[in-house]
Amino acid sequence: MSSMVAPSRRDHALGGALGAVYVAWLLGTARSLGFPRDEGFYFRAAADYARWFRLLAHAPAKAFEPNAIDSMWSYNHEHPALMKSLFGLSWVAFHENLKVFADPSTAFRFPAMVMAGLSVYVTFLFGAQVYSRRAGVVAAVSLALMPHVFFHAHLACFDVPIMAMWTVCLYVYWRAVTPVPGRRTFARIAWPLAAGVVYGLTLETKHNAWVLPAVVLPHAFFVHRRPVLRGVAVGRLPVPLTLISMAVLGPLVFVACWPWMWKDTVPRVQEYLNFHLNHEYYNIEFLHRNYFGPPSPKLYAPLMIAATVPAVTLALFLAGVVSRGLHHVARLRSATPPPDAEGEGGGDRVRSDGEADLLFALAIGAALGPFFLPKTPIFGGTKHWLTAYPFLALFAGWGFERASRALASVVGEVVAKRGLKLPGKITAPALALGLAGTAAVLPPLVVTVHSHPFGLGAYTPLVGGTAGGADLGLYRSFWGYLTQTTAPYLAKLPAHSSVFIHDTAWDAWGRMQDEGRVRSDLRGVGTTGEGDSALVQYELHMLEVEYQEWITSGTRAPAYVLTHDGVPYVSAYEKRR
């Protein structure tokens, strides 16, 4: 069995700083990102739930009455309550009461941004404890600098929060099953109990959490294989406390945190499960084809990952996986296990016989596995497997560790052989680390900054960037969130014009107007023929709306085209009749 060294205060400070910087960056860019359809729904749900919390504060007895619960928790009950509750509480606290955020939307979004910061922090801790501090830094930064993660990290939605909670849950689980030399009895019980509570909160974040047993069960068996096999031999199955805690406390916390589940619990849980097990298929383009039902293409996840995660991160990930794999093969073949750090000065802080690597691999496999099944809908683009990315980034962190060491060795040799003198106090390893660090971080940073606010459909240079993605027939956008980005065009329309807002949800449109993101005198309309002007947001299956516009506006020539890198994202038509 492995053992570990607990993270130091310095680790927590460094990880916390990385997370805080990320949250600050997200806050700084939040106003330039419009509201996707789903955010509009969650804003509304959050406001409803916040009403209940107010009632709870002022009249607790009334708050627990079934009618009060049903009236305030019914809306959007197809998704659990944790994040929407936090969105609502944040709105009350930071916008209504404390006035920290001028925009209500920023207050709604803030908890999800904090979750993004949390995922950066925990990814760092994981990397620092399993591999090395610099592997942890690169893992955390690589996660933050994935354009699609950056996009979703802004939103009052559940995709980045579940990524964070999935990672936190596995971290706590790992702390629970991995002994720390000299750990006190309290900690031996507290970590397993924490794993149960955190699993419940993860279930309460999004349904991806149902898949977590596919990670922890095989992993726990591997970790406890010797006692389990010994027990089976004598006719009993010893179950680790951590698993018992997750199995018992998880569902309890899930129900406890979701008032809508308090009445008619079984049928409501059943309804919730059925909604997701039989989820409608929405349209999504992949390789010039519109998918709207099963079977889903098996190439979808691999190609979308290759097209959206920066190439250097992918290269480091592959190097990390190969390196860890070779290390474990060598370890299994050798009577004398090789040092985990694989020589060369530092490295693993965990005395591992592969348990952490296995956990990371299982976490990636479980997050991505469903997307190789023919019946899994693919309409969410990359957002539905964001849970794989912290672990992809962790292997990339280790890949970076290996690459920077190899580069240091090469630079050292070149410097020595040629008798070169490095300026100042710069050493060969420091120079190598600087070069490798810049190469690992700068390109993802540049690509991510450039992607904003088009990040939902941003494609990396590996596939030719935005235009390359369009050439390949990969989706450009969904959720109608780019309406705000057309504000410069909308600003020029005559006063009180009517605008067909196409895929933008009414809640999202209303909030954009309330917050002065688009002109408040414009009148949104819901059908193509109604508006003086009409927006068409490009998705393959939305082209029918554009053809309707040709008839209703009497022109094939858009008055305005919103582009990113020369690729159309939204067109606006004006009536010529």
Binding site: V312, A439, H450, A467, Y538, Q548, D565
Partner: protein, 310 residues
């Protein structure tokens, strides 16, 4: 002793980042500026003939091209053609070295550049002479609509109504100019999103279902050796493959006599399906052509067809 090649390989990994950054820079530098589209329009204006196809490659660049070129150059016939066979020449306006697959075997007559936009003039290797286009005839008033149920024939009225349109899932918009039947049923020229979401200019005539039939009679049709056409349904109406087939029965009438021309059945999933029938006995004649549209059930039968004589 030198280092093993694996060390060099791993040490070189950060180069991937530098290559990525360079590729990003190159990709940004290659973005086509708006001015190039305007310059391309001026080039095309000087070259285009009335019966040329003007089209854009790749497809996703079409809104940029249409915005710069305007309706005068991008007529609905060019923006939503049934296929490319009717055009003697095509002016393909392309970026990023992309070309349209359906023009792959056309001969390149000329190629010009307007900044990063390329204009190619292509010649149809199998040119045809279109004698009558039923969609144009219908638009010009040379088409009448009748609702037929058993022996009862009800003439429908050409007129103007409000445009019918919606949002996603509505289907093709129904324009103001259309023929409407008092007890239901209509026909109008629209742009249909076909199964692959390509725009098709065609006569939209959703069948009534059951024994009822919608009959369009085209007058002044100049017949040739061939009748060439297509039919299809609005993509969401046929993609689930759960609807009843739609039958298009074509025959002559009037002075040419009642001569069957062809009967074409469109089944869900067929998409924008082409048909062609030889009409040698009609060649050189001018007369009436009747199109009868039926389906056992009217549910989601958002049907559209087009045809020409050549």
């Amino acid at each position: 002793m030198g280092k093993p090649w694996t060390t060099w390989l791993v040490a070189a990994l950060p180069l991937v980042g530098l290559l990525e950054l360079s590729a990003h820079g190159v990709q940004l530098a290659r973005v086509v500026p708006d001015g190039d589209w305007v310059a391309a329009r001026d080039v095309v204006k000087g070259m285009v003939k009335g019966d040329d196809l003007v089209t854009f490659a790749p497809d996703w660049a079409s809104p940029l091209g249409r915005k710069a070129f305007g309706d005068e150059l991008i007529t609905v016939e060019r923006a939503a053609p049934p296929d490319v066979t009717r055009f003697p020449r095509a002016l393909e306006v392309s970026i990023r070295g992309q070309h349209l697959e359906e023009l792959a075997d056309w001969k390149v007559l000329e190629e010009r550049a307007a900044g990063r936009v390329t204009i190619r003039v292509l010649e149809n290797p199998r040119p045809v002479h279109v004698l009558s286009d039923l969609v144009t005839l219908f638009e010009q008033g040379q088409g009448t609509l009748t609702r037929v149920e058993g022996d009862h024939e009800e003439p429908c009225m050409r007129g103007r109504g409000p445009i019918l349109s919606g949002n996603l899932g509505f289907g093709a918009a129904v324009p103001q100019d259309r023929i409407m039947c008092p007890r239901g049923g209509y026909a109008a020229v629209t742009v249909l999103p076909d199964l692959e979401y390509r725009p098709r200019r065609c006569i939209y005539v959703p069948p009534l279902g059951g024994a009822a039939m919608l009959r369009i009679t085209f007058t002044g049709v100049h017949f040739g050796g061939v009748l060439h056409g297509h039919h299809g349904l609005y993509t969401e109406a046929e993609r689930a493959k759960d609807g009843q087939p739609v039958t298009l029965n074509l025959r002559t009438a009037g002075a040419s006599g009642d001569v069957p021309v062809g009967r074409f059945v469109h089944k869900d999933g067929d998409g924008w399906r082409g048909f062609e029938v030889p009409t040698p006995t009609l060649a050189g004649k001018t007369g009436e052509l009747v199109a009868e549209i039926t389906s056992p059930n009217s549910n989601k039968r958002l049907y559209c067809f087009e045809a020409d004589t050549r």
